[in-house]
């Protein structure tokens, strides 16, 4: 059974390359991917998660304003009745901030996992499989490591 993830770049950020790669990676790993594209609002994430009964909401941000863009995001998700894992990744803070501090900031905002911009797609896929308790078949494992 395939599981659905909703993917998008939050706020007024127009960086598209990363989510294009993630869309390919999650699709290849057997997930149904709903890619909302760039410049996606909190409400659009919530609506898509409800409409597609998503298991996970994956938020990308590269332009340094993620903290502002994600204020109240989990309240919006709760209000829409979204029950999904939430991940965020990218360049999440402007400047030379310590990543552990950034991780804490976004965990406090309600995200289940926080990734920096150096993360390989495989790492996020492995994390999601673990969180959703999906066992990988041999065939899929071969695809992922190739």
């Amino acid at each position: 059974m395939s599981q659905t993830v909703v993917l998008g770049v939050i706020g007024s950020d127009a960086h598209v390359v990363g989510i294009t790669i993630l869309e390919q990676a999650f699709s290849a790993a057997g997930f149904d991917v709903i890619n909302l594209g760039v410049q996606t609002s909190q409400e659009e994430f919530a609506e898509a998660a409800v409409a597609h009964d998503a298991e996970a909401v994956l938020v990308s941000s590269l332009y340094g304003h993620a903290e502002q863009d994600c204020q109240g995001f989990h309240d919006v998700l709760d209000a829409e009745g979204v029950d999904a894992l939430t991940y965020i990744g990218g360049n999440l803070a402007v400047g030379q901030d310590d990543f552990e501090q950034t991780r804490e900031t976004f965990e406090d905002l309600g995200f289940d996992r926080v990734f920096n911009s150096e993360t390989d797609p495989e790492e996020a896929i492995a994390a999601l499989r673990q969180d959703l308790q999906i066992t990988t078949t041999e065939a899929e494992r071969a695809t992922i490591s190739s």
């Binding site: 127009a14 598209v16 390359v17 294009t20 790669i21 990676a25 290849a28 490591s145 190739s146």
Partner: protein
Amino acid sequence: MIRDERIPADELRRIDDEIRSNWPTGDAVDFDEAIDYHESLPAHKQFADVLENADKPLLQPRAGVPRLDDQIELLEYLHESGQADLLPTTIDSYTRDNEYGKAQEGLEKARETGEDTLNGFPAVNHGVEDCRNLIEAIDAPIEVRHGTPDARLLAAITFAGGFQSFEGGPISYNIPYTKRHGLEETIEKWQFVDRLAGAYTERGVRINREPFGPLTGTLVPPSIAIAIMIVEGQLAATQGVRSITLGYGQVGNVVQDVAALNALQKLGDEYLPDEVVVTTVFHEWMGGFPPDEARANGVISLGGMTAAIAQPDKVITKSPQEFQGVPTKEANASGLRTTRQVIDMAIEQEIDIDGIAEEQDLIERETRCLMDTIFEHGDGDVVQGTIKAFDSGALDVPFAPSDSARGAVLPARDDDGRVRIFEWADLAMDDDIKEIHKARLSRRADTEGRDQSFRMVADDVDAISDGKLIGRPQNAGDV
């Protein structure tokens, strides 16, 4: 239904009156007086003539700061210390979004604090007179560079302000820059910009127009870029533009880049009407740069070498501080000087490289497939054809953030570092061409001992900033 037809004169006047009332500085535009002003400018500030008559590639940087005095100082520095032949004025992001009120706040704050509170020069807010103060202060032609989907007011003010070159176009300033502007909407708005440039041209003031060739700046296959350049050139020509500079962004493989620039000039001459003078501009690498200045200079130098061989009419240079964003003026000038040094050393050498003719032939065949599908989609009308071909996916741009393009095509480098198409989606292309790409990518997969997959695309996106051209696995054959 919008078509590729010239806007009638009365309609041009009606739109012009309407858009000039959007901001108080629009009042100062007087077309007849502006023609007199352009005629009063000396020959060495006539953009189209300087560009078209140059005997070697002219160099132009990117640069824009909010205050007039600072912009003059910056351009003077780039002209003198950087030996730039042509100068830019890069417009700020608020103006690109038609947010003139916010640009005004930023400009006033910049004047109070002396800080650069905008990321460019808000030409609409400065108005006609201050644009002319800039044109008069600088002893070289200056182009307006921006990224504005609706650039009608910006064009009205900067043309009247004495600028004679204007970057952008309805596809190239839409697809890579914005999510929600429809293509039909941007084509309509750019028909006005081109028609206004055409109105100046009719009166003897040739405004140069330059479609933005690099598009998304990320591994764009040459034929896709060239097809879009030809379409934008045709749209501009219909509205009366007679000086058109088609653009192309460096992909980093010298053979492919030289072949693409040759094809761009050849197909531009072939597809655009005879009365149009077609020139070309080469953009040094637009993707991610290495994070140290020495290696960045290497990337810039390879661009200079490519330009020396292909000899485009103009080169847009990068700075060694590209990685960190807006460069200091010193770094900006150094990118110009590095490029100039390499071009001047290499340009008189006779450098023959095998494979350029073959690659150029492939690029031309691919471009013709795309142009054919556009004409077919529009039943002969290039406007309808472009809208419908993007809609069907027969025309597409990789990594396009816009809802107007599928963004489903994915590029990857082949074993020689040339950009090929890995995922075709619905792009209109002959099967034998697809087979050539497939075979080239298959050779790379063999070399690396891995399957063709999106991993190659991801690795290629980061490769140049990581110090290589091709995104090979760390331990090839052992992955």
